[in-house]
Symmetry: C2
Amino acid sequence: MVATPIPSLDLVPDVLAGRPRAIARLISRIEAGPEGCRAALAEVYRHTGKAHVVGITGVPGSGKSTLVRALALAARAAEHKVGIVAVDPSSPFTGGSILGDRIRMLDLTGDPNIFIRSMATRGALGGLARASLDAVDVLDAAGYDLVLIETVGVGQDEVDVVRAAHTTVVVSAPGLGDDIQAIKAGILEIADIHVVSKSDRPDANKTIAELKLMLMLAAPSTTSDAWQVPVLATSAAQREGIGELLAMLVRHRAMLQTSGEWDRRRQRIAETRILKTAEDIIRSRFNRQRHQEVGRLVGHVTDRELDPYTAALALLTQLEGDSSDG
Amino acid sequence: MVATPIPSLDLVPDVLAGRPRAIARLISRIEAGPEGCRAALAEVYRHTGKAHVVGITGVPGSGKSTLVRALALAARAAEHKVGIVAVDPSSPFTGGSILGDRIRMLDLTGDPNIFIRSMATRGALGGLARASLDAVDVLDAAGYDLVLIETVGVGQDEVDVVRAAHTTVVVSAPGLGDDIQAIKAGILEIADIHVVSKSDRPDANKTIAELKLMLMLAAPSTTSDAWQVPVLATSAAQREGIGELLAMLVRHRAMLQTSGEWDRRRQRIAETRILKTAEDIIRSRFNRQRHQEVGRLVGHVTDRELDPYTAALALLTQLEGDSSDG
């Protein structure tokens, strides 16, 4: 006899009580697709809004993962309950082995007050952004008061994930000139805090100076009156600057709350959540109806009888009639 | 008196005749948003389907841009008309100056048979994938028989752009160990051709061997019977391997056509186009209705009275009633 799996909704009380096993199981179901856990997620969502959600981004090689690990340990030492959601395929939390196996570490240190979860790259199937943000909800509702999202800072999807954080940290490393170019184009303007990692390297000062110059040259509209974007130097290996970063996160949260910016960001996060979820719904309905009405539209576009825009409008109208998610 | 701008549809005959000025103007309008040029794009789309569209991807620092430039020159020498769409914020075609100014080069060499266009990073506004693929259409319809899309290979949006190509080239560079990790997680399985750039470096052989090992270990389903994914070594600076890459692109296209895979890919491209356009429509309607019905939904989600999934379903229903795009 096969055991009947526990309904996702029945996991919620244990999630709210902060039980790691229930948290891990619910996140696994989120990864598998939203269909089986909508009621659970709706219930979880009602209990969110307490955590400070921090997005940590930067290109591969910038030392994000080492920084996240050091930051988590420092936050734990300061009595925070720390959740980590790694959405970075280059992260040792996520990647690691040759064939993309994920390392799932329930607990980095044997300490139940740190919970680490890597999210699978879903590739063409999409939904990674939505699933990652749902996982943040689970950790928030489970009582983790500091939730770190680690992501590669290139691409629309990654920018969207970072827009679902209260505070955004952009990590740069010395000697990655091209990468800083890449960062500045996409994410310079979204950084609340810049970190230059590997600050023990001789060329770290040059990187710090470059970032400060960029911030000076940036349009005034990108910085708030209440907050001057700082450039911090850290060396995760030597544990330097980590305490300062943690203190800066706390200061940023306090500034958000006293300036009224906190409410504006909560609203922005809600917008991002709704949009990413809507995109995910469309994508999954598209995949489900691939051999039916959607397949006919695809055929017309392939044969140049219909242009993609007209087909997309028709798709949105067709999907409207599909009530199987509703 | 202000001159009335030419309607986008009136640009189409000049686009189809291959006039660079009309091509550049139409692409600028595409970047500004699809609203003003839907009829033009529908007309353009009817004339597409002739170009070989090649996606070239790899993390910043992998040498993509130099490779694209060398490949374009070699293709031109072989009598191709070459179009380039750069969607890579680290590309010198796209980035370059401190404040993200774009270098728009109508013509790399003074030769009208090479057309280069960089696409602006639209950041939070989205739509970059859709706009880039519309630009590929314009170049295809204008008679460019080889269209190269250069993109950073991380992120869902970038993977989607590459899925809109017939042939995908993944560029790696020696000494970027972490980056290869990043690539393999997201895009190993989508490469039709691997290129190791900067092959004059002493550690290039190690990178080539690693990629070959990964391909050997990859699940058989990721390689087609008709095509063994090759690993090519190039040195764009020394012009080595560029001719081989061009020949491999031609071979890949021929294989697609003889194996029947060409039709399957054209269909996949149509699917991607429809989905990305549908996402773009939703995002732009969302932004337009931000202060009306959508604003109320956002407020409910911000206040935890509604979860993101239920709000996303409501959003899709509401947008259905908005016929201003239809």
